[in-house]
Amino acid sequence: MTEQAITDRPFTAASFQAYMDEGKLMGSRNRETGEVFVPPRPIDPATHGEAMEWVELSGRGTLAAFTSVYIGTTAMIDAGYDRARPYVAGIVELEEGPRISAQLLGVDGKRPDLGWIGRPIVATFIERGEGDKRRSYLAFEMIV
């Protein structure tokens, strides 16, 4: 039943979010080449192939790039971050190949270190927002 539900969902941002709200990091996989896309893409940009299937990602990867943000987005300011409490946003390279952007947890935004790049990280989900706007956000934690 779960497999059926997975197969039927369209490769859209809404499906990606629905999976995250279920605690799953999901992508699309080109059945012909095995290439994985996160967030899911309906068309493989390299081959133009459309034979996609859903695949669940391990959530493991390494940090490729990051920043410690002192002047944040309105959503992050609402979440309690400011100049005195900067947050870290990163680009993560997943072990299945694709990269994705997410907040990096468990590190001190006031003590950023270029040495974090290349370090192993693992996905987690955080809930943010009030009422109807409450949703899951992807985040990563550094493995120490």
């Binding site: 490729a64 990051f66 920043t67 002047i71 959503a75 300011i77 952007s101 956000y137 992807l138």
Partner: protein, 419 residues
Amino acid sequence: MKKLNRGVAIVGTGMSRFGSFPEKTTRDLFVEAYRDMSAAVDKGFDPKDIEAVYIGNYSSDLFEGQGHTAPIMADWVGLAPRAATRIEDACASSGVALRQGILAIASGAYDMVLVGGTEKMSNLPIAGVTDTLATAGDVLFEIPAGFTFPGFYAAIATAYMHRYGASADALLRVGIKNHDNGKLNPKAQFQASIADLMAGRIARAQQKGLPVPGWQTEMDFMHDDGANPYIAWPLRLFDCSPVTDGASAVLLVGEELARRFTDDPLYVIGSGQASDAAALHDRASLTSIRAAQVASRQAYEMAGVTPEDIKIAEVHDCFTIAEIIATEDLGFFAPGTGHEAAEEGLTSRHGPKPINTSGGLKSKGHPVGASGAAQAVEVWKQMRGQAGQRQVDRDVDLAMTHNVGGTGQTCVVHIYERR
């Protein structure tokens, strides 16, 4: 190899003063740029001969609550009912408007086209500006991660520094250099070097009897967390282009018509444009901008020239790291060596490859939708020997402009020749 079917020339350029002007709207700014352009056409022109208008504008919708900008700009300079088209490619909007004007003339559809850009950014509080600029990123998959525009380029900086061992000081050097240039540009937002800013603050502290900062060098100032705070580590305030109001205008004609308007036109001999994935994380490289590599390759091929031939370039330094990477993407320096070139002063006004003699987006200002066409204004002045105190000390027969949208989703490159 792709060639234009008809040559295209620039016979006039202009720009408004760049800065923060609470009393001016996008249309006031554009009128100012149009008048400046009109005054620059040596033999004059009849506005009735303008057949079409292409306007770069990123987001008057969000900045000012005004959409459908192009016909307003055309009408406000008296050009209705000419065709008026708005181009929105984020910070590359007016670079792309310039290219659209060039292609329209090259096609034979028009003989004379007005292109330009306009942006009024300072109405919104800084949080509103941050959120509006962030919509040039991927709002589904990047902004929820907390990325801001400084944050994107800061992440590029960490990837670059980690890969090539570059120091944050190389970035700060770009800011110091561009302020040195902008000091000499009467249209620039900051007409002050970093040394001038330091001296001003020291004098103010002395006047008010406050503790006097102990900066000895410009780098002391740049390293001071109070004077130059982090915006998105490793980028500090003076690594970031400012919030700017401004407009730009360029008059294009078919090459064979150029000398009716001036004895000293510029010829657009190369033009290229490319795109890339919406999200920075989806790019093949985090330490270069592929769209810039592709667009510049197209422009070089069309022009039949090489990076060594280019005498000066205006590049898209929305953040200091962007200038360093641009000088590599355009082929001026090998990948991973742009930071050394910046530290060694190779890109200063007196160096072998002057970059951003106008002060660049950093010091001249960055009214996002106007910046691309404003780059052509500097090239026009330098190539015709009209850049005043910041005029480079050599003959500029070939120049380049490089205008990036977003984090590299768009790049447009032009090569100009003086014959």
